[in-house]
């Protein structure tokens, strides 16, 4: 094997890692917002699935993938609003509500497939978001092959990491979100509306999770498949936990999962004979290892998952 070949594979692995990590990054950032405001959102998986479907459907209706992205993202926010209503107004058990959302998403998207396309399991192909050739960047020797020619949603995910980090740790609203997640009673006494902040956090998580779902159906593929999220919402949650409820930490954890997923394809390319089932297990095994706290103890916000009982 010569250097050119190895470099080529290296660039390819970096590019596929970023692609595989993108839906996770969006969803994990969403998780950060929700948990930081004190609402556990295990429904991210369902949010992603609904958004993946409606992203595809929007693109199908308008033949414009970007309108699909918009529709899918908004649906993500809407589904999250349901979770917010149940958690905040009805003080539902947040895990239970999230599980119900996930169940609803699997059954609901299947029924919608039948309703709109009379097909089982898979939608027809739609216009997808085309990759970008970033001028200048794509001409840099090694780097250009790795990150110069990616889907715009991948670049958006990277930008969102920085943006979310700034928003949470650099703005007043971010500070309020964090304080509500840590100590809602104290936040309430200084006049912060727990209700509003929590709605904000959960709906933000839906919009971001929605982007992650949309990427699956319009970025990495051009159609919707039954259950196409395949546990990515849960993996994103795990990434967020091992990233210590921090946008940047979550981002690095997502890269690791993306890498594990990208490896699946590369082993065969390198001529290694590993049963594919073990490669499929890799991202899930990584998740378990990561939530064991190999990166140090991850402490959730103190009020995470606990309905707020005080005056609104």
């Amino acid at each position: 094997m010569d250097w050119g070949f190895i470099m080529g594979i290296g660039a390819f692995v970096i590019a596929s890692t970023l692609r595989a990590a993108t839906p996770l990054i969006f969803a994990a950032l969403g998780g950060v917002f929700s948990e930081r405001s004190g609402v556990f959102n295990i429904g991210l998986e369902g949010i992603m699935l609904f958004s993946a479907f409606f992203g595809m459907y929007g693109s199908y209706l308008t033949n414009n993938p970007w309108l699909g992205v918009l529709l899918g993202t908004l649906v993500g926010g809407l589904v999250a609003a349901v979770h917010a209503f149940l958690s905040i107004e009805l003080r539902a058990n947040q895990t239970v509500s999230g599980v119900a959302l996930n169940l609803m998403a699997v059954a609901g998207t299947n029924m919608l497939l039948v309703k709109f396309f009379h097909s089982v399991g898979q939608s027809p192909s739609v216009a997808k978001v085309a990759d970008w050739q970033v001028p200048l960047l794509k001409d840099i020797p090694f780097l250009g092959d790795a990150i110069g020619n990616l889907n715009p949603l991948v670049y958006l995910a990277l930008a969102m990491v920085a943006l979310s980090s700034f928003f949470l740790f650099g703005t007043t609203t971010g500070l309020r979100i964090r304080s509500v997640g840590e100590n809602p009673e104290a936040a309430a006494t200084v006049g912060i509306s727990i209700r509003k902040i929590r709605y904000l956090g959960v709906i933000a998580s839906g919009l971001l999770g929605g982007l992650g779902g949309v990427f699956l159906s319009l970025g990495s593929m051009d159609l919707f498949k039954e259950n196409m999220t395949a546990g990515r919402g849960f993996i994103a949650l795990a990434a967020m936990i091992s990233g210590k409820y921090n946008p940047v930490g979550a981002f690095f954890a997502c890269l690791l999962f993306g890498f594990a997923e990208a490896l699946e394809g590369q082993f065969q390319l390198l001529g290694m004979n590993v049963p594919t089932q073990f490669l499929h297990m890799l991202p899930y095994a990584c998740t378990i290892i990561l939530i064991l706290g190999v990166v140090g103890k991850s402490v959730p916000p103190a009020a995470d998952g606990i309905p707020y009982e005080g005056r609104k």
């Binding site: 295990i42 149940l86 009805l90 003080r91 539902a92 058990n93 895990t95 239970v96 509500s97 599980v99 119900a100 959302l101 169940l103 609803m104 699997v106 059954a107 609901g108 299947n110 029924m111 039948v114 309703k115 259950n227 395949a230 546990g231 849960f234 993996i235 949650l237 795990a238 936990i241 049963p275 089932q277 073990f278 499929h280 297990m281 899930y284 095994a285 998740t287 378990i288 939530i291 064991l292 706290g293 103890k297 309905p307 009982e309």
Partner: protein, 364 residues
């Protein structure tokens, strides 16, 4: 307590699931209408598809027995404050272990081979369940996430086993060998596939009830679930109980998987998705308020829905996924029981004009 108050107590316990079910039926009504179907016709076929004839009832039992066991498994873990979403994976491991042991021996008498095969499923399920329990107890790893990961690992791990290790004959499509006749459970109500596993599931209902409410272990598990800090203070080993609860929970799911092989499939086929009994078991446990009697009711309801859905789909043309949506609605309502409790508490305040504490669900 006299009979009147006791009946009233049971009535109030039934009220909530009944409301949840009613709302799910209403939701389904609108969805069917939106799909251009006739809701009455759909519900007619849903009901008679499940209970119409003895054979159909037999087919319903095919769904009920695993749901009793997975629901019990999840309910038992809930009682310890743990959400075992990994029942799906534990079920799968139970299936493959049973297929392996069931097909490995020939010439064993049935009275040894049947329990041996079940035991294989129980063991495999309990190991798969104990892992997230241990990770939670030792490292504080969130059991919801680790047990979901164990589900996917189970799917791919058994895929490996059936493609490379247990494939029979080698080179064929990925299935294991048929289990021996000596490991099969007898069927009744032919031509339905109803089998004696239902009796085992019912026996487990009683056993789990006795375990949780009549033994010291069961008491400790429930104490940890109610308030783990208080339990720790009272000298209960919380770590130990979490692992125990998850292992027993996994054992029940593994047994369900074994019965599925011994009574229905007779061999393990490569899976292309989750069988779904574990996920439905969550709804069953929630609907049954994690009590064996309630779980029996929930399993009957969801078993009937799953079984009737086939006729509803083929005759009334309504997708069987409608059932999934109705189950989600039921879970939503059970999860949001705060509303009812609040209304009830307010009524109690008004009728007694005494300050009453607002009970808030902290059960899960």
């Amino acid at each position: 307590m006299n009979i009147g108050t006791k009946l009233k107590e049971y009535g109030s316990k039934l009220l909530f699931p009944a409301i949840a079910l009613f709302c799910a039926l209403i939701a389904g009504f609108f969805i069917i209408g939106w799909f251009g179907g006739d809701p009455f016709k759909a519900y007619h076929h849903l009901f008679f598809g499940a209970f119409g004839t003895p054979t159909k009832f037999g087919e319903t039992l095919v769904y009920v027995s695993p749901l009793i066991l997975t629901g019990l498994g999840i309910g038992l873990a809930f009682r310890c404050g743990l959400f075992n979403i990994g029942v799906e994976g534990q079920f799968i491991l139970g299936m493959i272990a049973a297929a392996w042991i069931g097909s490995s021996f020939t010439g064993l008498p049935a009275w040894i081979h049947i329990p041996l095969t079940m035991l294989a499923g129980i063991l495999a399920g309990s190991i798969w369940g104990a892992i997230p329990g241990f990770l939670k107890a030792r490292f504080g790893a969130h059991e919801v996430i680790s047990s979901i990961m164990m589900n996917y690992m189970a799917l791919h791990f058994t895929g490996y086993l059936v493609n490379y290790v247990l494939i029979e004959p080698p080179g064929s499509r990925p299935v294991t060998r048929m289990i021996s006749d000596s490991a099969k459970l007898a069927r009744f109500l032919p031509p339905s596939r109803a089998h004696l596993g239902i009796l085992i599931a019912l026996a487990c209902l009683v056993l789990v009830y006795l375990f949780l409410w009549k033994t010291k272990w069961g008491f400790e598990i429930r104490a940890v679930g109610l308030n783990s800090e208080a339990a720790r203070y009272a000298g209960i080993n919380v770590t130990h109980n979490m692992v125990l609860a998850m292992a027993v929970s996994g054992a029940l799911a593994g047994l369900a998987g074994a019965l599925q092989i011994q009574g229905i499939q007779y061999r393990f086929n490569d899976l292309f998705g989750f069988p779904g009994y574990g996920l439905d078991g969550i709804a069953v446990a929630l609907l049954g308020n994690n009590h064996p009697a309630g779980i029996l009711f929930g399993a009957l309801l969801f078993g009937a829905m799953n079984s009737g859905a086939l006729e509803m789909q083929s005759v009334a043309g309504i997708s069987k996924h409608l059932i999934g949506i109705m189950q989600a609605v039921i879970i939503f309502f059970v999860g949001a029981d705060y509303l009812i409790k609040k209304i009830r508490a307010q009524r109690a305040v008004r009728s007694e004009s005494l300050p009453a504490a607002t009970p808030v669900s902290k059960e899960v």
